[in-house]
């Protein structure tokens, strides 16, 4: 039995996802890095009601695939391996989720090759099937299967973008960084730090994110703030923790890093 991960809703995302799950609608999660997309899907996968009650094949009812630019169709669907004198078919993560009923979460899907992304199309409409060419199978999706994609619009470029034919198969949930109070609660929960210190870290996060438009490609993620909080919890001074977990992790630009350190100094003294 897996514990339900901690997740603090920011808006109505839990209700909307639950509704999409009930209707078995594929879901697209959009948001900057470290804002809680993965944690959200872990939480939802663990909490949504399953029609078959779960069969234990997929722990946590979730299979996550970190997409990258060399991700091939075989990496998702499966491949033959030579095992002694015979070739053996091994299901890929997508096939396993389809076959056994689980949420398949393709993280940062825009990173994947376009010819790979096309494979998911039959799974994301009314057919809910997965043709496996190499074995000649056409798998019908398990009732508890759901495809969830995520991507970061900040990385979007001409070369890396979801085709419309892919986009329009999903309901999209947009994520942002949580408000300061909520983020402080998250930091406090994840790190065990006291709320006052967590609030200061959340303030730092809020301030640093202002730089997104000028200087930083991304704002500081809640994840990094949690890291900083965990370092503080381990006895590292707050300013040093912010330096190693926030400013230096966020950028190689010395000027930006020093400016972030200055803000941290203002907040923590």
């Amino acid at each position: 039995m897996h514990d339900v991960p901690f997740y603090l809703p920011v808006g109505d995302e839990v209700e909307v996802f639950t509704a999409a799950w009930e209707a078995r609608l594929p879901v697209l999660l959009k948001g900057p890095t470290g804002c809680g997309k993965t944690r959200f899907i872990e939480y939802m996968a663990a909490t949504v009601p399953r029609r078959t009650g779960g069969n234990g094949h997929v722990p946590g009812h979730l299979i996550t695939v970190a997409c990258h630019e060399d991700l091939t169709g075989s990496d998702l669907i499966g491949r033959y391996l030579i095992k002694g004198d015979e070739t053996v078919w091994i299901d890929g993560p997508l096939t396993r989720a389809v076959r056994h009923g689980a949420v398949c979460y393709l993280d940062e899907v825009v990173e994947a090759r376009k010819d790979t992304v096309v494979l998911i199309h039959p799974l994301t409409d009314h057919r809910r099937i997965l043709p496996v060419d190499k074995t000649g199978e056409i798998l019908e999706a398990h009732p508890d299967f759901l495809l969830v994609l995520s991507y970061n619009p900040g990385y979007q470029s001409v070369m890396k973008d979801l085709k419309q034919s892919t986009r329009q198969r999903f309901v999209a949930l947009e994520f942002g960084y949580p408000p300061r109070d909520t983020e402080a609660r998250i930091i406090a929960h994840e790190s065990g730090l006291d709320v006052e210190q967590a609030m200061r870290l959340a303030t730092l996060g809020e301030k640093v994110r202002h730089l997104r438009a000028s200087g930083l490609p991304e704002g500081v993620s809640t994840r990094l703030l949690v890291y900083a909080a965990q370092l503080v919890r381990q006895g590292v001074t707050p300013r040093r923790a912010c330096m190693v977990a926030v400013s230096r992790a966020l950028t190689d630009d010395g000027e930006s890093a020093r400016a972030i350190d200055d803000v941290a100094a203002a907040i923590f003294g």
Partner: protein
């Protein structure tokens, strides 16, 4: 009754004129009584003069009515006779002009004066008589202002000035101020005027003495001497601009540094007179930014620069070259805005949530100036800070200022009072209102920032403590006292007095709900304590004064629980507030009563001793005479304490990026204030150096046209577009290429699998590399197209009915379509502007932006604008390419002519300045790893493009209409070559 026998003199006078004889008879009895035995010589003198000046009677009549001083009259008579020998009427003018001076002016002075008049008459030709008359008539009152040796020079100066100022006017314009000058000053003044051209000499002669009134005689003489030397080499235009400002410029120099500053000016005037006008403008700033010793080093370097190149030297002394600023700020401890502005911009942006562009604002002060517009994205920071001992401390001060500026935005100074700058600077209001508002709102912001950011509290207290000894103004000093939170311990009595008056009023501003409106209200009430403007004094302003005077012993520390605290009241280890002696308190109460009554009280004027005791007690106040309105009496105001420790407050001089007014006033267009502003250096080939922060550039949004032009362009080139696309598809790399012999992959490699099987059967170890996979081959190219949107592109292209700009837009449409096909990263920017303060860049499509409806419509919205300041635009768009990781980066400049702008160089007829600056900018582009390429439709382009870049870096398109077809080809060739 027997008649007295007529004397010889009487007979002679009667022969000359009955009128003269009657006049003599009238004054004779009194003269006889006054002169006694000297009467006869006096009467003979009258007769001599009457005969010599006849038929003019004026001289002898003046003689008869002049003061009767036997000796002086005799000498005067001799001089008058000398003039009468030349002209009787002139002798009359002399006598009438100088009669009142007989006995007061010495004989030598009168002689010299007479000689000067005679010389003027002789040397002014047919006008001589009139000029000499005017001389005697106008300068008699100035006899005491000039020495004998000056009259000859004075007369010579009159002749020198004649082309610009008629002599009579010149004589009448003799400034009364020179009467109080020393001989040396007058000598320097006259010599300086003689050294200048007539037009400039008039300025120095007529206008400058009044402007130098506030200087000491020594400084005046030194300054005039500098001007005299400068005349040998400085341009007349530069001198004319600086002469009327001599006084204010000199008084802007901190008093303690004036000796050193003028000594340096003298050195420069001797060695490089051309640099003097520029130096006089910047001396105050130089001595604010650095020490006298380093200023001397800076001057030496400037003389060396000026010796090599006059223009470079002038720019150097005007702080208008990069070298000059670098040498000036080459202090071991100074920190310049250039060094830290990037980090400060980010700091302000992070804290306030709004982007900010630092702008140099002159000298350091703890209360940075307000921005004109609440929509401005600028934050005013000093060009350099060198007031503390180490770089780290000076950099820390910059951070403190940046946080206070963020606080203004974060705590709504501009949101609540959008026009606060205009309000406090209104000429109708007190001149200290702005300073006071900066103080009150600065304190409010500091309290709020300290409460929100616990780490800032320490910084603010540190800044207050460190700046207490070297404040930029009395208001800065008061804020420093408040920030340091140590009460009045160690504070100089004058400052303690001032702070004690002001700080209690600031208490409400430490409250979390205090707003900028509260700060303004309190500043307006505090004005009464600083009444340069007497209109502001009145009962309405008194409550604060009353609070201060009567409640001072209740302590005056507010404060924010965790922010900085004011004064001693809230500080355990601070001293108790000074207690007001009972007798002084009583006197103060009387004064307050009087003030409220405003009708002349019955109090007594405070004696110097009482005043001293009061200051020592740590309480300052407003002190008036016993009667009359308080405001009109010569009381002691806080601002009068300035001289005790501080330099008089002066407006900051223009910085390098903000040269003096007249030239800048020539800019025509006022840009929108909400556009981001960037400052760029510019290369000046005349000085062989960059002019720092010389150009202001704004990014201006282009209003789109809903994509109509884009669609029509595609339709117009319907046959060309498919060809181009096809052509580009050929260069599109093969997207996927199979790779074999992999241990993991998409497919089995059948050959490898069979081979492995064979090996296995043969009981040999098979290779694990059984898979094959397709891998992607990428192009990684980024290109920025920079389009000249100058007004000249509005012309119809040769051989076409379309405008040049429309053809260029067509080319961009086709190019963009083709690049979308190939997937190369590209961006499009336009540029134009008017003058160096108004360079404009128009973002059309940024890198990473899709060629969506917005970008398409912006291409359609491109229209001709102003001039062509290429260098600045190139430097700006280069910044857009710095973050790109593509190994192959290109910048393609599309233009229709040479670089040109209204102030692109001093000589508007010459394009050399613009060409050289653009060439330098292109080299900067290349040095940054970006390959520039210039395309022009100007057939004469060879003339200047070969100066701007290598032959392989430019192309001239003969037929403008061919641009849409040629541009993609050029692009392909460039990218392939790279």
């Amino acid at each position: 009754m027997t008649s007295r026998p007529r004397s010889s003199a009487e007979r002679r006078l009667a022969q000359v004129s009955r009128v003269v004889a009657d006049a003599f008879d009238a004054v004779a009895p009194a003269a006889r009584r006054a002169l006694g035995d000297d009467f006869t010589p006096w009467a003979d003198g009258a007769a001599d003069l009457a005969e010599a000046a006849a038929p003019a009677h004026g001289a002898v009549l003046a003689y008869l009515h002049a003061p009767r001083d036997a000796v002086a009259s005799a000498a005067w008579n001799v001089t008058a006779l000398r003039i009468a020998a030349v002209s009787g009427t002139l002798a009359a003018s002399f006598c009438e002009g100088s009669a009142a001076m007989v006995g007061r002016a010495d004989a030598a002075t009168l002689d010299a004066w007479a000689d000067a008049g005679i010389a003027l008459r002789a040397e002014a030709g047919w006008r001589g008589e009139r000029v000499a008359h005017a001389f005697f008539a106008a300068t008699a009152a100035g006899l005491h202002a000039l020495r004998p040796e000056h009259f000859v020079r004075f007369g010579a100066l009159a002749r020198h000035l004649r082309p610009a100022l008629d002599e009579p006017l010149m004589f009448r314009a003799l400034p009364v101020e020179v009467a109080h000058w020393t001989v040396d000053e007058r000598s320097a003044w006259l010599a300086g005027a003689m050294a200048l051209s007539p037009e400039l000499a008039v300025l120095l002669y007529r206008d400058v003495p009044a402007a130098l009134h506030a200087l000491t005689p020594r400084h005046r003489a030194a300054l005039l001497d500098v001007v005299r030397h400068a005349a040998a080499g400085a341009s007349g235009e530069d001198l004319a601009a600086v002469l009327p400002m001599l006084g204010p410029l000199a008084t802007a120099i901190p008093p303690g540094a004036r000796d050193a500053a003028l000594a340096l000016a003298t050195v420069v005037a001797d060695a490089f007179p051309a640099g003097v006008p520029a130096l006089l403008r910047t001396l105050a700033r130089v001595f604010e930014e650095t020490t006298p010793a380093h200023a001397a080093t800076w001057t030496d370097r400037g003389i060396a620069v000026g010796t090599r190149s006059r223009a470079a030297g002038v720019a150097y002394f005007g702080l208008a070259s990069r070298t000059s600023l670098r040498v000036l700020r080459a202090s071991g401890t100074a920190v310049t805005l250039d060094e830290v502005q990037g980090g400060l911009r980010k700091l302000v942006h992070m804290l306030s949530g709004e982007s900010a562009v630092p702008r140099p604002s002159g000298r350091f002060q703890l209360r940075p100036p307000l921005e004109e517009s609440h929509e401005s994205r600028m934050v005013a920071l000093p060009a350099a800070i060198d007031c503390l001992d180490t770089c780290e401390d000076n950099a820390r001060l910059y951070r403190v200022l940046a946080t206070l500026l963020s606080g203004r935005r974060e705590f709504d100074t501009y949101a609540v009072l959008p026009d606060v700058a205009a309000y406090v600077r209104d000429a109708e209001r007190s001149p200290v209102l702005e300073d006071l508002f900066l103080l009150t709102d600065g304190w409010r912001v500091a309290c709020r920032m300290g409460a929100r950011y616990p780490g800032l509290g320490a910084d603010l207290r540190w800044a207050g403590a460190r700046l207490l000894d070297t404040p930029a103004s009395v208001f800065d000093a008061v804020l420093a006292v408040a920030l340091r939170a140590e009460g009045m311990r160690g504070v100089a009595p004058w400052l303690a007095a001032t702070a004690s008056m002001v700080l209690p009023s600031l208490t409400p501003l430490a409250a979390p709900d205090a707003t900028a409106v509260d700060a303004l209200r309190i500043a307006e009430r505090l004005v009464v304590l600083f009444p340069q403007d007497r209109r502001d004094v009145g009962p309405a302003g008194l409550p604060e004064l009353v609070t201060l005077l009567l409640d001072a012993d209740e302590g005056y520390g507010p404060p924010a629980s965790d922010g900085p605290r004011i004064g001693a009241g809230g500080d355990d280890d601070g001293e108790a507030p000074p207690e007001l002696p009972a007798d002084l308190l009583e006197k103060l109460e009387l004064l307050v009563d009087e003030h409220l009554d405003d009708a002349g009280g019955t109090g007594h004027a405070m004696t110097a001793e009482e005043l001293e005791r009061l200051l020592e007690a740590g309480l300052g106040m407003q002190i008036s005479e016993a009667s009359g309105t308080i405001a009109e009496q010569a009381g002691l105001y806080v601002t009068q304490l300035l001289g005790k420790r501080l330099a008089a407050k002066t407006d900051p001089l223009p910085t390098a990026g903000e040269p003096p007014g007249p030239r800048r006033a020539a800019t025509v267009r006022v840009p929108s204030t909400d556009a981001a502003v960037f400052l760029y250096d510019e290369w000046d080939h005349l000085i062989g150096d960059y002019r720092p922060a010389w150009c202001r550039l704004r990014e201006i949004d282009v209003a789109g046209d809903s994509g109509l032009f884009f669609d029509r362009a595609l339709a117009r080139h319907a046959t060309l577009v498919p060809d181009i696309r096809r052509c580009f598809q050929k260069v599109r790399p093969e997207m996927y290429r199979p790779v074999r012999n992999l241990e993991d992959g998409e497919e089995f490699d059948l050959n490898a699998a069979v081979e492995a099987r064979v090996e296995h059967r043969a009981r040999r170890s098979p290779s694990p590399k059984l898979y094959t996979m397709r891998t992607r081959q990428e192009r990684d190219v980024a290109t920025l197209f920079l389009l000249d949107m100058s007004a000249s592109t509005d012309e119809t292209a040769e051989g076409s009915s379309d405008r040049i700009i429309d053809i260029a837009k067509d080319a961009l449409v086709i190019m963009a379509s083709a690049l979308e096909e190939i997937g190369d990263a590209y961006a499009i920017y336009g540029f134009s502007g008017q003058g160096r303060d108004n360079v404009e860049v128009y973002p059309i499509k940024a890198f990473g932006e899709r060629l969506g409806a917005a970008a398409r419509s912006r291409i359609g919205g491109i229209e001709p604008r102003g001039s062509t300041r290429m260098g600045t635009a190139l430097r700006h768009v280069l910044g857009k390419m710095r973050g790109l990781t593509a190994p192959s980066r290109h910048l393609i400049l599309l233009s229709d002519g040479f670089p040109q702008d209204l102030d692109y160089g001093t000589d508007r007829q010459s394009h050399v300045y613009g060409i050289r600056d653009t060439a330098t900018a292109l080299r900067e582009v290349q040095a940054a790893g970006v390959q520039p390429f210039c395309i022009t439709v100007d057939l004469a382009g060879h003339d200047y493009l070969r100066e701007m870049c290598d032959p392989q870096q430019y192309l001239i398109i003969d037929q403008v209409a061919a641009l849409p077809r040629e541009l993609p080809k050029i692009y392909q060739r460039l990218v392939r070559a790279a």
